[in-house]
Amino acid sequence: MSKAYDAIIIGGGHNGLVCAAYLARARKRTLVLEATDRVGGAAVTREIIPGFKVSACAHLLYLLHPKVLTDLRVQDHGFKLSARDMPTLALAEDGRHLVLATDSALTSASLSAHSAADAAALPAFQARIRRFARVVQRLLTETPPRLGTRNRSDQLALLKLAWSIRRLGRQDMREFLRIVAMNVADLLEEQFETDLLCGAYAFDAVLGTRLGPRSPNSTLTWFYRLAGGGKNGSNALAQPEGGMGALSDALAASAKSAGAEIRTGSSVARIRVESDRVAGVVLNSGEEIKADLVVSNADPKRTFLSLLGTQYLDTGFVRRIRDIPMCGTAAKLHLALDGLPSFSGVDRAQLGGRLLIAPSIGYVERAFNHAKYGEYSEAPAIEIIIPSLHDSTLTPAGNHVLSAIVQYAPSDLKGGWDDMRETFADNVIDTLTRHAPDLKDKIIARELLTPLDLEREFGMAGGHWHHGELGLERFFMLRPVPGATQYATPLPGLYLCGAGCHPGGGVMGAAGMNAAREVLAGRAAA
């Protein structure tokens, strides 16, 4: 068999596609192997029932890195936004909802109705948080340094990190260092008295993590979410036309046009090793494909513990991989509707934004309490969008789809998910119905994807969006674990490019971009 490829990418998730596109543009003969029959990994559009389409996992874009967009000319390959700068509406039981829009005047007016003091304090707070988020933002495209080496690039990267904090100025730096490891609830309660505002921000901080607003590190995860560069302390939320799968298709088209080959329905059984070097992969079909470079878009646990195998790894490293917390807590509810539901006190324009059911910090924290003990939330916190309002390609005319991210639904649910899925779905729909009384009448079909379903469908352990918890102890130079923080792994020729690496998950593409840079630089680990 001839050596037809320079690099094989395991997994055609968005990071794998981004990495492939960069490698192909650098004239590497690149092959992407995707286990399912379409590219995108979890960034795909799925059909609930024929004619009703929805993003399978993440449903809003707020982190997609602008460098990826321009470098890979994603727009030239059919990527379009159907909505941008979507406002957030924090739903209140009494109908006095709070608008958090990119237009600060709108936000201020809405917040004044709840608290004049909060409305006055908000602009300065938002500006400061935005400055802090920029510290994280600057790190997104950096290769994390290794600690304790005398390597110049490592030392330079550490200096850059220190400088990006120092350049905040004395006051801001002190404040940044004071709050960065804090819990977001304490931070918000120092500033604000409006429950709706605190609940909405707290929800953003913990979305996609196994943290509650009172868990340490939840401020950092908030900065991380804001690092996408939103305005006024809210993200610039956008919705891709055709759902998240359309973005993946555009990334795939960009990679293909650069010369990458993409094979779907090709599930990798294991990574081949020869003389302590990567030699290629073996597919489940038994086919062997050779390459000196293998880049894994799979999560670190799956990459090292099942695709590679512990026999090629030192035990200390295996321990660290095994101990990565990967218990997903976010479930996805999809509803096919035969008409637009009416949410009390929400006008049609507002319905096209993002609706939150997270009326207070206490509400979100109580929802999280259940997850700590392996239970689902009785009163879950929910992010709702109706993407079909902006995108007619998703449903037949006059019909709609509702897409909701629901927390908390821990992947390690006591007693397992298979018997509880529908009960939980009923519970979520009941929660929604309190705000949209006519919702149940309009449901044609429904599906609830638990973290366990996400794991089964997309292969990510624990159904965890970020391929492993975020938090200071899993951040930057500690992500995913020491020994693999620079995308290179202890096994020469094997690289990681997925969300398990810095800077983590969310549809961002930075991990794939950074990994490609390291692969091309040919830097080894250790």
Partner: protein, 395 residues
């Protein structure tokens, strides 16, 4: 009495009734949670017994792990630096194992009872590490420390004593081999292994029969002396044999607080233990790198002028520059030499010609400093031919 219970932090060994009767000094120590004898009578007498007749040492506290399963050979190869494929069933190997950085976690003896069945013996406990190495392997690991009692029977007449004791054909057992002998309607496992550098055996038996074994051994050969020895005497003979001990000659890497205190097999003179051709094992990549860029230290044997043991001394080049330190030292009665095991900075053997050791000695409460010249020598200071001779001649 139960082990691993806070009410009994130290438990007696299966031979306790016999060791307590033999111990005239009441000088005890703790080893791996067991009460063991430091000195029975006089350390000099016990030393002389090991070197001149037959000595008995209660080895029961040795930590023992049973390793079995279809993947046991590949598991063990992942754990230790040696190539276990070369170890035939029925044989024993001295092994070391390393962490990711190629620094030694401990050394021990590995018994291969069958194709897929091993026992690993070590001074310290290692179950968490052994279990984590097993991730991805179909292998069972069990701590059998309390299930096996053991005696070390060492010395020039040990084979003769065991013959009289009734182990037919024991003289043909080769070094590092294991054999089973009938004993009291059941069997006794014997390996020709030891920590003295001389002819000797280790006897392994279930704890219920331990006391019988002790009594029968001491009665076996009234014409040849047989003496119980404690850990102090053993520590002397192991220095003469050039065997290194954890916590004395090297810091096991997981105990080292300062990360520079770990030592690699190369730095401990155990480079011969490292087989890079067998596939991956823990520490392999770090050790390959060390081989490429060089080690920091080297372990050597020293022959020091004079007769004052150079315990804990610093080593100087040309009496000026400090280049190392002594780990173990003693006046060796059998070699008639003042010997030491030492760590030196790696590299330049040119400086070996001009090494000095400064020894502090207290003479009638007055400290004196001696600057003694030291020669680098083979650290197996004492290696009589009989330790490997097979069949063993009668002494």
């Amino acid at each position: 009495m139960r082990q691993y219970d806070y009410r009994t932090p130290v438990v007696p060994t299966p031979f306790h009734s016999r060791t307590v009767a033999a111990c005239r000094t009441n000088d005890w120590t703790r080893w791996a949670g067991y009460t063991t004898v430091n000195v029975y009578t006089e350390v000099e007498l016990e030393y002389a017994a090991i070197r001149n007749q037959t000595s008995v040492f209660d080895l029961s506290p040795m930590v023992k792990y049973h390793i079995a399963g279809p993947d046991a050979p590949s598991y063990v190869n992942h754990l230790v630096t040696r190539n276990i494929d070369k170890l035939a069933p029925g044989r024993v190997a001295y092994v070391v194992w390393c962490n990711d950085d190629g620094k030694v976690l401990d050394d021990g003896t590995l018994f291969r009872f069958g194709e897929n069945e091993f026992r690993l013996c070590a001074q310290d406990r290692h179950l968490p590490w052994l279990l984590d190495v097993a991730i991805g392997y179909n292998v069972e690991i069990e701590d059998v420390s309390a299930d096996v009692a053991a005696l070390a029977l060492q010395g020039p007449t040990s084979c003769a004593v065991l013959k009289r004791f009734g182990l037919r054909g024991i003289e043909t057992l080769k070094p590092f081999c294991i054999a089973e002998f009938p004993y009291r309607e059941r069997t006794l496992t014997v390996s020709r292994t030891g920590f003295t550098g001389d002819l000797g055996y280790e006897l392994w038996i279930d704890p219920a029969r331990a006391e019988h074994l002790w009594d029968d051994l001491f009665k076996a050969d009234p014409n040849r002396g047989i003496t119980p020895v404690g850990s102090q005497a053993l520590d002397l003979v192991r220095i003469e044999a050039g065997f290194i001990a954890p916590h004395i000659d090297f810091m096991p890497a997981e105990y080292a607080v300062r990360h520079t205190r770990g030592r690699s097999p190369f730095e401990l003179g155990l480079g011969w233990q490292v087989d890079f051709d067998k596939g991956h094992f823990n520490g392999r990549r770090a050790l390959l790198k060390e081989k490429r860029v060089g080690s920091r230290y080297q372990l050597i044997g020293l022959d020091v002028d004079g007769n004052k043991p150079a315990r804990d001394s610093l080593i100087y080049y040309a009496k000026r520059r400090q280049v190392g330190h002594i780990m173990s030292a003693m006046w060796s009665p059998i070699c008639k030499r003042n010997i030491a095991i030492a760590i030196l900075e790696a590299g330049r053997s040119s400086m070996w010609k001009d090494l000095w050791v400064d020894i502090y000695v207290k003479k009638e409460l007055k400290w004196e400093r001696i600057m003694a010249r030291a020669q680098v020598v083979d650290r197996r200071f004492y290696k009589p031919a009989r330790r490997t001779a097979t069949p063993v001649p009668d002494y």
